[in-house]
């Protein structure tokens, strides 16, 4: 599903964000990307949804070669992914349901399909009762659930979550994390960048640790038996 091969990423100012990063993520996996701030987690996330391109090496996501992807193909790739951020990125002047529907509208889906699918994902994240609430009327945990629902509504093969619990209290963190586990259990690949080591320890999923732009630990290779979700 995801394959990075000898990926380097440097910025125009010369800073090296990734150095010879290689890993594969297969169907059904749940993978934590860990490391300190600046270790390269977010850069990998951005490569996955083609917000950035590698300087060298190859990035393949869901059959698309990000390295040579044409600009007009980027939206097609993103429609096959669900993307979740720490800061939720919801549109403040739209209700929860409208925020979710928006991700379907951009694909040109029919109105009746949209309504049914929005209702379904809202139920999945446990927010059916708050479909008409605006983001400011929701707690942080609820806003992140709306963002996850938006990411799910296109039935993505891969869910990319960049520090999804970074802005949440402990309880909300547990709730959102459980939701991501359920999504993975239903067959979706989940790649979650986090520096919350409690969460990482708690679940025993595959963990890839980055330091200064390089992979320093990959539990699938270093301790293959410890990984909970199989490849």
């Amino acid at each position: 599903m995801i394959r990075l091969t000898h990926v380097d990423k440097s910025y125009p100012n010369g800073a090296l964000a990734l150095r010879d990063v290689t890993f594969r993520i297969s169907r059904g996996e749940f993978v934590f990307l860990t490391g300190h701030s600046g270790a390269g987690k977010s850069t990998i996330m951005k490569l996955l949804f083609a917000e950035q391109r590698p300087t060298s090496g190859e990035v393949r996501v869901s059959g698309y070669d990000v390295t040579s992807l044409r600009r007009d193909e980027i939206p097609k790739l993103r429609r096959r992914l669900g993307i979740v951020f720490q800061d939720f990125r919801l549109l403040d002047d739209r209700t929860a349901a409208e925020n979710i529907a928006f991700a379907l509208e951009v694909t040109g889906a029919r109105r009746d399909t949209i309504n049914a699918r929005v209702a379904r994902v809202l139920a999945q994240v446990g927010l059916s009762a708050k479909s008409r609430a605006h983001p400011r009327e929701l707690s942080g945990g609820e806003q992140q659930r709306v963002a996850i629902a938006r990411a799910l509504v296109n039935d993505p093969a891969i869910l990319v979550a960049d520090e999804p619990t970074g802005n949440l209290d402990e309880r909300a963190t547990r709730g959102v994390f459980q939701l991501l586990r359920d999504i993975n259990a239903a067959g979706t690949v989940v790649v979650m960048a986090t520096h919350d080591l409690d969460l990482v320890r708690q679940a025993r999923y595959r963990t890839i640790e980055l330091r200064d732009g390089s992979v320093v630990y990959d539990s699938a290779e270093d301790e293959p038996d410890a990984v909970e979700a199989g490849r």
Binding site: P75, R78, L90, F102
Partner: protein, 289 residues
């Protein structure tokens, strides 16, 4: 299409102040352009009034038979530059002089012999009322053997030519400058809207919106703002026109306003400006995000 319209209209509802500001900016930019346009068309109208007085007059030798002159006027009327030809007999010339030159009325009344010659007055078609054409026509009239002299006020017509050229060039330059300023101001206003909605655009891109999907509502919004701005500018121009006409104490009583076609052109120009400004700003923004 419904989605496109909804998104475009939403932006008016979401940012009413900025939208009003955009429409007002477009309106006032087009207003200055429109005012200049009004001055230009009125100036042209005034010049046209002057032009109509451009006339080539051939004085006819005394004793020329009437049939000769009738035939000649038919010939002259067939010149491509000529609008109409009038033959003024000696008696008509005297009567006109008595009527028009009041200060010489007594002198003309006491005359025993009519000193005024008969003449053929030739008026030129619009577009041919310049010194070069008038000179050419005069030259041809001189070719008739019964013509004693030809006059057309060469100096005056040359001055008119000059005035017309200057008005044309100055009009074009100032008009283009105003239009350029309008485009820049409108572009900046649309850019402000975009900056305000940068976050929304980035979210649209993340959920897989194509660039055209993102552009669509902005383009429609720009066109709508241009349309409203165009109407506003017409309203302002009409207000300015009425004020100027009615407060000038009759000096500018003959001022004209835009024709419906010109008004439609102004509104269309507003729409195009809005569309173009949006296209450029969104394009630049999408490349940068």
């Amino acid at each position: 299409m419904r989605l496109l319209t909804r998104e475009a209209l939403l932006s008016f509802r979401r940012a009413p102040l900025l939208s009003t500001l955009s429409v007002t900016t477009i309106g006032f930019s087009l207003f200055t352009l429109g005012l200049f346009g009004l001055v230009a068309i009125n100036l042209r109208e005034a010049l046209r009034g002057l032009e109509e007085r451009v006339e080539v007059v051939a004085f006819v030798l005394r004793g020329t038979p009437a049939e000769t002159i009738t035939l000649a006027t038919q010939d002259i009327a067939a010149f491509p530059e000529v609008e109409d030809v009038v033959y003024v007999t000696e008696e008509q010339a005297l009567a006109r002089a008595r009527r028009e030159l009041v200060e010489f009325r007594d002198a003309y009344r006491d005359l025993q012999v009519n000193p005024l010659p008969a003449s053929i007055e030739v008026r030129l078609k619009s577009g041919y009322r310049d010194a070069a054409t008038a000179g050419r026509v005069a030259e041809r009239l001189r070719g008739f053997e019964f013509v004693e002299d030809v006059r057309f006020g060469r100096d005056w017509v040359q001055k008119l030519d000059h005035l017309r050229n200057i008005t044309g060039i100055v009009g074009l330059v100032i008009g283009l400058a105003f239009a350029a300023v309008a485009v820049v101001i409108i572009g900046v206003t649309i850019r402000l809207t975009l900056l305000q909605r940068a976050r929304e655009i980035s979210i649209m891109r993340l959920v897989g919106a194509t660039n055209w999907f993102i552009r669509g509502p902005f383009l429609l919004e720009g066109a709508l703002k241009g349309l409203l701005g165009g109407f506003l500018s017409l309203l302002l121009c009409y207000g300015g026109y009425l004020l100027f006409r009615d407060r000038s104490g009759g000096t500018f009583g003959g001022l004209v306003f835009f024709h419906p076609v010109q008004m439609a052109a102004i509104v269309l120009f507003g729409v195009l400006l809005g569309l173009f400004g949006s296209l450029v700003s969104v394009g630049r923004h999408l490349r940068n995000v």
